[in-house]
Symmetry: C2
Subunit: 202 residues, 2 copies
């Protein structure tokens, strides 16, 4: 494609490098950014630069934050005896959205891969063990993904944590709400059966 402007070609090229953005979308976004008010384009560019400059890992939970400690760790109303271990910062977002959890988090920044990297050393597992050794945390909820890597990570962490006398739990596996049993895969159905619970008598 011959472009009439080098700056436009470069912009389309950079946009097309983003995940999930194909060449057509990149072109559409580039023309949008050229036609939008100058402020819109500048705000986006500055938001990218500032995010890269300001965002670091929370010194306690390794979540993304602008400050030394993230707002969740710094919040005195959170229950400091329960710790939810997740793979990525986006999992914290997902957990916070449901508003059902009031404890603290620990972000691993990955999962133990069965085949190759990252191994346990590249995750924030040592940092997690240091937190647990202080003795304030009574329960660790392993909220890694229900994938091969997430399961391997949960098993590894459970083994590491149990000797400390801390209660270790895992998010329940089973049928997602709204799903139909007919279309559930076998592993999900097996897990749902294994995790079956007695209905309380009313």
């Amino acid at each position: 494609m011959k472009l009439s402007s080098g700056s436009l070609a470069r912009l389309i090229n950079e946009l097309a490098g983003l995940p999930g953005i194909g060449p057509k979308s990149a072109q559409r976004l580039a023309f949008y950014l050229l036609n939008a008010p100058l402020e819109t384009a500048e705000n986006l560019a500055n938001a990218i630069l500032e995010a890269r400059k300001n965002i670091r890992y929370c010194s306690l939970c390794a979540n993304l934050t602008d400050a030394e400690m993230c707002p969740i760790c710094a919040d005195p109303r959170r229950n400091r005896e329960v710790l939810c271990v997740v793979e990525e910062p986006k999992d914290v977002l997902a957990m916070e959205k449901v508003r059902a959890y009031k404890g603290l988090y620990h972000v691993l920044h990955g999962a133990i891969s069965v085949r190759d990297n990252p191994g346990p050393d590249q995750l924030t597992i040592q940092q997690l063990m240091n937190r647990l050794q202080k003795g304030q945390i009574k329960e660790v909820i392993l909220a890694t993904n229900p994938t091969m890597e997430g399961d391997a990570t949960a098993l590894y962490l459970a083994e590491q944590i149990r000797p400390l006398g801390v209660k270790v739990t895992r998010l329940a596996h089973g049928l997602p709400v709204g799903a139909s049993i007919e279309y559930a895969d076998e592993i999900t159905l097996t897990r749902a059966l294994e995790g079956r619970q007695e209905l309380n008598k009313q």
Copy 2:
């Protein structure tokens, strides 16, 4: 959604303002930009800022360009007797991609709206008429979109240009290649019938 970082919230928010990017995509792109090499994020931000700084309209055809005159207008190998009138810079890209056209372009930056703005004054029609009055151009190909606005614009331009004695043509309407007659809409089929061509005897 409670975010652990103001910079992250701002970045997600700016990304979600782009057309075709929903909240989930914006979140995914933001985490990508944070995890990617610093250079990737900076290149994108700088490409946006530089495109806004450098890109202007070509003084001849009003296409987007970094220079006073766009590479197509400046190219001595292009046929300066044929002019293709399009609505938007992206239409020039589409035409150039097929490599079947060797003339020059004129970008209107919109189409005449049947209901409201932009009216003929807000497009580059006066600039187009000035080009035609110089007498070098022998044919104007109206390549506005086959929409109500594009058709209105083509009709308006044809009326304006004909008194100058310049040949005015329009891109053919009809069935797109690969389409089936069964699913073609009535207007397309009517146009295809009207524009039917005799098959040459072999």
